[in-house]
Structures are given as structure tokens and as C-alpha cells.
């Protein structure tokens, strides 16, 4: 197991380097002078020089890169141009909201997808199977920037059951609509995958043996089939959790949810590049770490992976 962990750690190092280099280059890839974009062409020369010095753009590229990496190692992501606050503080303030939303969306999707997928696999070609597959197909095809307004229209504006937007006092009603919006796509993918893997598992010899032994349907399905079918699902769930963080960018914008995604979009619109760099770096690194943890979890649940390593 240690070999697997070490191998994965070595494997992600060049990826982390690549991500941080891309983030460093964001400002340098902007066509023209980035200071013009941030302050406007009519800004005073003094302000332009101050910002150029503050961002280190007056230094040679290699020195800027070295300083960037050095500051990064110390967790210093620079200052926001808009609010003049440290970027890491802004991100730290927003991270809990995004984590809460992603976790809630994960619960919604896994909680719905696994029962739906299992039921569809147990009764193939029945109305239940067809119904779950239609739900899954619609879920895959429905973009969250349409589903969100649709849910607001029905549950907030028509019935008045749930709040329209914001995080309020952090209570559950504020979380429901954003979590359903964010989790629906993942739920759809997981339902299809659960159905496919369960159908394959239910055809295995050991399931036939379990049935022949006279075990109840519940025990056969939950203890024998689902446990084995979960192995590929773990990978998919892990990969989707990373995608949830990215999907949160749009969902948070729709619901004015004060998370990292909303901060990223606002920073892009305000051309606050240090914040854009910080947000992109944090989301991408979280995504990389989630993928690595998925690989490790896969090795934990499937002994064959450990032995192969």
C-alpha cells in the first residue's frame, strides 16, 4: 500500500508544477499590457507603476517566476486589486461554503443514484428501469444553469417553499436548491453507471450460488452484488467530486452562494487577476488531490490493485 501511495505522490508532483506554472502565466498570457486591462488605459502613470511593482511585473520573467513559487510555498497568493485584502484570506472565507455545497450535492446524487440504479438493474426493461433511465438521460442533458432558474421558479417563486438565493443563516432550506442543481448531473451519470455495473455483477456465478443457497433477495443484492458493484463506482464518485467543485462555479453564480466559484467569476468580471490566479490554483489543486485520493481509495477497496502494485 505504501508503494501505491508513494507512486501516486511522485506522479502528481509534475502535475502540481504544471498547474502552478499555468497559473503564474495567466497574467503573462494576456494580449497587450495587463496593467491596461486591470486599471484601464486612462489610469495615472503613478498608479500604473505602483501596480506594476506590486505585481512584480517590472522584474525579469525568471525572477517573477521564482518569487511566485517562493510565495506560493508560504501560502502567499498576493493581494486582491479590488478589495485590497490578501487572496488567501478571501479564499479561506469562501472555501467552507463551497465545501458545504459540494458535500450536500454529493449526498443528493449518491443518495438518489444508487437506489435508482439498483432498482433499474433488478427489473431490466420494466417501467421502473425505463423511468430511471429517462430521469438519468434528462439529468445528463439538463445544464445546471437552466435547472437552477427552473427550480427557483417552481419552488421559490410559485410555491414560496424555499429561499431564492444566498446562504442566509446557513440553514438547510438555503442549501436545498443549490445542492439539487449541482448534484443532478452527477446523479444522472451515477444512476447509469450503477445500473450497468449492477447488471454485470448480477450475472456473476457467485450471485447464482448465493441465490441457490437460499439467501434472501435483500442479502444477495446488498451484501453480495452491491458491495462488488461499488468498486468502479468509487472511482466515478471520486472523479465527480472534483467536477462538482468546477460545477459549483455556475451554481454559485445562479444562487448568489458565497463560495469559491462565485468569487472566481466575480474576479474574472472585475479583472482582479491575483484573485483569479488564487482561485484557479486552489480549485485545480483540490481536483488533483481528489483524483489522487480516489486512486488510493480504489486500492483500498480492491485488493487486486494493491497486489499489482
Amino acid at each position: 500500500m505504501q508503494t501505491v501511495v508513494l507512486r501516486r505522490l511522485v506522479f502528481i508532483l509534475p502535475v502540481v508544477w504544471g498547474v502552478s506554472t499555468f497559473v503564474f502565466l495567466i497574467i503573462h498570457l494576456i494580449p497587450g499590457d495587463p496593467i491596461d486591462l486591470m486599471l484601464g488605459e486612462t489610469a495615472a502613470q503613478v498608479d500604473r507603476q505602483t501596480l506594476r511593482r506590486q505585481l512584480g511585473l517590472d522584474q525579469p520573467l525568471w525572477r517573477q517566476y521564482a518569487t511566485f513559487l517562493q510565495r506560493l510555498v508560504h501560502g502567499d497568493l498576493g493581494q486582491s486589486l479590488h478589495s485590497d485584502r490578501p487572496v488567501h484570506t478571501l479564499i479561506a472565507e469562501r472555501l467552507p461554503a463551497t465545501a458545504t455545497l459540494a458535500l450536500a450535492a454529493l449526498c443528493v446524487s449518491v443518495g438518489l443514484a444508487i437506489p435508482l440504479g439498483v432498482l433499474a438493474a433488478l427489473r431490466p426493461r420494466s417501467w421502473l428501469d425505463t423511468g430511471s433511465m429517462i430521469v438519468a438521460l434528462l439529468g445528463v442533458s439538463m445544464p445546471n444553469f437552466w435547472l437552477g432558474p427552473l427550480l427557483i421558479l417552481v419552488f421559490s417563486l410559485q410555491f414560496g417553499w424555499l429561499p431564492v438565493a444566498g446562504r442566509g443563516d446557513g440553514s438547510l432550506p438555503y442549501l436545498i436548491l443549490p445542492a439539487v442543481t449541482l448534484g443532478t448531473g452527477m446523479m444522472a451519470v451515477l444512476t447509469r453507471m450503477t445500473r450497468a455495473t449492477m447488471m454485470e455483477t448480477l450475472r456473476e456465478d457467485y450471485i447464482r450460488t448465493a441465490v441457490a443457497k437460499g439467501l434472501t433477495m435483500w442479502v444477495v443484492v446488498v451484501k453480495h452484488a452491491l458491495r462488488n458493484a461499488l468498486i468502479p463506482l468509487v472511482t466515478l464518485i471520486g472523479l465527480q467530486v472534483g467536477a462538482l467543485l468546477a460545477g459549483a462555479v455556475i451554481t454559485e453564480t445562479i444562487f448568489a452562494w458565497p463560495g469559491l466559484g462565485e468569487l472566481t467569476v466575480r474576479a474574472i468580471q472585475q479583472r482582479d487577476y491575483p484573485v483569479v490566479q488564487g482561485c484557479v490554483l486552489v480549485i485545480a489543486l483540490t481536483y488533483v488531490i481528489m483524483n489522487m485520493m480516489t486512486d488510493l481509495l480504489y486500492a483500498v477497496v480492491d485488493p487486486r490493485i494493491r497486489f499489482e502494485a
Binding site: V19, I268, V276, Y287
Partner: protein, 274 residues
Amino acid sequence: MHRRRLAPSGYLGCVLLACLCVSACFAPWLTPYDPRAQDLAAGLHAPAWAHPCGQDKLGRDLCARLFYGARISLLVGVMSVAVTLTLGVAIGALAGYQSGILDEFLMRLTDMFLAFPGILLALALMAILGPSLTNVVIALCIVGWVGYARLTRGLVLVAREMEYVTAARATGATAPYILIRHILPNIAGPLVVQATFSLAGMIVAEAGLSFLGLGVQPPTPSWGSMLNEGRLFLLLAPHLAMIPGVAIMLAVLGCNLLGDGLRDWLDPRGEIVA
């Protein structure tokens, strides 16, 4: 003669995509209205006989904007898929067929691109390039080639061990000739399926970027920006957000149904009908 049939859902996908193409290609003939023509007195009007989809806050005909918006979706989708498919297949085929250091380098490069969730990388690129139609296509192309490269590499790795490739090599055929004339036609099926799903992804990504104000800029009609504008009038005029949303969903549904149908059709383990 035994042959496989495309499932009925696959045909439904074809029909939905055909509707998208017809709307995009024949937009000027399908509606008498200019999608940019404003009629402020008729702002937020509900669907009526003269304007079947209603009018937006500036009194522009929603139906006309929907048809012209289909052009943007289809243009961005098809162009991005064409470029990413070409680039991804070329890189993947090179990595898979040559192996060695080149393969290692190209695969580590794809790992770096895969480290970014697609929409985040597209957002970061739009922050660099600035919002415009061309930049949306560029951003989506930079994001989208990786999947094709990975898939092609895997398929080429399997195909190059096949006997027909050994036979071609024995006749003295060069590597590019073998790749283009022998391997690519044999691995085209999964790539076509992937391209169909990818078209759906590109349509959603373009609409998503426009929704956030980072894609196609007003007054050019785009389904994503129409949805974003309509979202502000959910209570007064819900059709403004709902109609473009339905259009996006149907386009994506069409791609997904066709992709599923093609995948089953091309699967050798699938049912064969007489």
C-alpha cells in the same frame, strides 16, 4: 443479410440534431423578424400568435433569437469538435504508435490538462483571452483535445498489435501510411461516438460561458446569454429563461441519444437483427 439497427432513441437523437441544423441554416427563412430589432413598447410580452415565443425586455422576438442562437451553438460546437478531434487524434495516434519518450511526454502533457476541470480551464482562458466568439472556440479547443488524445492512444496501442498492421508493416508500408490507411479506419467507431458526446459538451460549455457573460457578447443572440437575461424576469416573464433552456436541453439530449445509439450500434456484443 444480418445487420444491426440503430435503436429508436438514436433516430430521435438524429431528428433533434436535424432540427438544430435546420434552425441554424435556415434561420432567415424561418422567421420574418430581425433578432436584433428592438420594440421597447412590446418588452416582456408573453407568447402570442405574431411572436410564438414572446418578446424579451427590449421587445426583440425570442423565436428569431432562438433560431439565430442555434447558429452560434452549432458553429461553436462543430468547429470545436472538428479541431479537437483532429488535434487529439493526431497526438494520440503519434503517442500510441511511437511509444517511448514521445509517448511519455505527450501523456504527461495530457495529465496536466486533465488536472483542470474543463469549465475552470475554459474560464481561466476566457479571463486571459477576453470574451468573444473566436476566443470561446479557442478556449474550448484547448480544453477539449485531451479526451480524444487519451482515447486514440488506447485504441492505437491495441490496433498496432493486430495482424493486419503486422502485415502492412511487412509489405514495407510507412508509419504514417499504416496509421492513416489501416489503423484510423478501424478505430473510427469509438471516436465518432466520443465526438457525438463531445458536441453536447461543447454546446453546454458555450452556453455556460455566455451565461456567465464570458462568451458571445450582446447583441449577438446566444442561448446561454438569453437564459441569463431571462433569469432576471423569472416571475414576470418565465418564458424568457425557460424557452432557451429547453432549446439547450433538446440539443444536448439529441447528441446524447445519438451517441448512445451509435455506441450500441457499433458494439460487437450488441443484438444482431435479421
